[in-house]
Amino acid sequence: MEIDAVSLTAVTKSFGAVRAVDGLTLAIPRGQTVALLGPNGAGKSTTIGMLLGLIPPDSGKTAIFGIDPGQAVRQGLAGAMPQEGGLIPRVTIRELLTFIAGTYRAPLPLEQVLALALMTGLEDRRVDKLSGGQAQRVRFAMALVGDPDLIVLDEPTAALDVEARREFWNGMRTLTGRGKTVLFSTHYLDEADEQADRVVVIDRGHVVADGTSAEIKKIVALTTVSVTAVGEVAWLGDLPGVSRLEVRGDRVHLRSADPDATVMALAQAGAVRNLEVTPADLEDAFVALTAKETV
């Protein structure tokens, strides 16, 4: 069996009374691109910090390519971009990246990194005189420059505009095309949906869902079947696949895990009037997943 790029086993971390990460287990095989999706305070950054050996877990085991994370970083196997910070004043982009590259055994050529991070032509600018989006790209470049096999990015596109975000992911695909393993956290649901092979949803330090974005949508069964109906409608809630019924005016919205069966049953009952089937988008799935335990 091939060794996983990332392996977290029952890791737990508390800050005082706050359980930031609570018995989280996650294994990422080589070459996968995984999105860590979760609301503010879900424990994404803490998980990433433990994975990289920056935060010691209270309990549980962490490994990168089967070895201790600190050791893996020391060997240049992992590169990372923390959620914030990491830039210093009074140096140029070129000086900074040349230094970081020099700490690795086999770094990427500077021109290639600049191209991947969309910074060609900016290399002689001072790091402290960049816009938020440009600074973000420098931080991204620092994660890439050593050409590590595992790239960990904590909210990599947070400060980027729509155009820059698209270009960013084009650059990332160049890397994943070369077999790199990528773990990134995000609040952008479309981003997880489009860019990741696999989406891991976390909330309050737990993994609440794990799969392809299609699988996650299925787990939460958020396809909505709506019809116009008047009078007694409670029986619609008992149709096959239906997990919830909601009445808004003369419209009845049925949340269904098996929309085909639900529509079929509606047809047999002769209740198909202005039928509308709305597939779940990941955003709904996400909200549903992370709201589930609050009630």
């Binding site: 240049g76 923390p82 914030e84 990491g86 009074r90 140096v91 020099g102 700490t103 690795y104 050593g146």
Partner: protein
């Protein structure tokens, strides 16, 4: 680690605080003090004594400024970024200490050169060598104190603590005004300060005598104290970085 030292030195020479406290202020003060003949003795002796004082003052400025840099680096997330590179934490600390040690060279050189070129100070070659060596090596305790503060305190507080320590030690240690003019109680304190012992080594050499054993012992004592402080602060910061 060589690359790290190079990068840090680049940042140091582009740092306004370093230029002001480490180079401009000691050179200007040296010119003013030596030409006002505020130092005791004849003009030439005064120029030598003040030269040593101001070189020591500038070197202290550089050493403390380097320590404040650590607090800024920590606040900026730079130390965490370094932990995400193959550099070992020990290499980073060593690199920072070496940067501090190298960073005081321009301060010492600027004042000594001003002494030679402007005030026509003449000393024997071995005196020059010893003074440069003593002024240089003697900054290590102050570098450690500065780094300790940089690790123990957050951004601005560390900067202020280091400037306070720098000015306080410079003044009480008799670098600005010779302790001969101090009231008795202050002179008693001055004789126990690391800054006074540090400069005294070179004052002795400049006046043609061997450095006093007392100053050596006191400075080494402070070296141990500040070294322990830096070690403690570094360990503590490591747990929260």
């Amino acid at each position: 680690m060589f690359g790290y030292i190079r990068l840090e030195l680049l940042r140091t020479i582009r740092d306004g605080g370093f230029i002001i406290f480490g180079i401009a202020s000691p050179v200007v003060m040296y010119l003013v003090l030596s030409n006002l003949a505020l130092a005791p003795g004849d003009r030439h002796t005064g120029a030598i004594v003040t030269m040593v004082s101001m070189a020591a003052y500038g070197a202290l400025g550089g050493a403390f400024n380097n320590g404040s840099g650590i607090a800024e680096d920590r606040a900026a997330g730079w130390l965490r970024q370094l932990r995400l590179t193959p550099l070992a934490p020990a290499q980073v600390v060593t690199g920072k200490v070496i940067t501090g040690v190298l960073g005081v060279v321009p301060s010492i050189a600027a004042v000594l050169l001003t002494g030679v070129l402007v005030n026509h100070v003449t000393l024997s070659p071995w005196q020059w060598l010893s003074i440069v060596g003593l002024l240089w090596a003697g900054t290590i305790p102050f570098s450690l104190l500065g780094l300790g503060n940089g690790y123990a305190l957050t951004g601005q507080t560390a900067g202020m603590a280091n400037i306070a320590a720098f000015l306080g030690l410079s003044i009480v240690g008799g670098l600005w005004v010779p302790t001969a003019g101090f009231p008795g109680w202050l002179r008693a304190i001055a004789e126990w300060t690391p800054s006074n012992s540090y400069a005294a080594l070179s004052w002795d050499v400049a006046s043609g005598t061997a450095p006093g054993a007392r100053a050596v012992v006191i400075l080494c004592g402070w070296l141990v104290v500040f070294g322990l402080w830096a070690l403690y602060a570094y360990r503590r910061a490591g747990r929260t970085a």
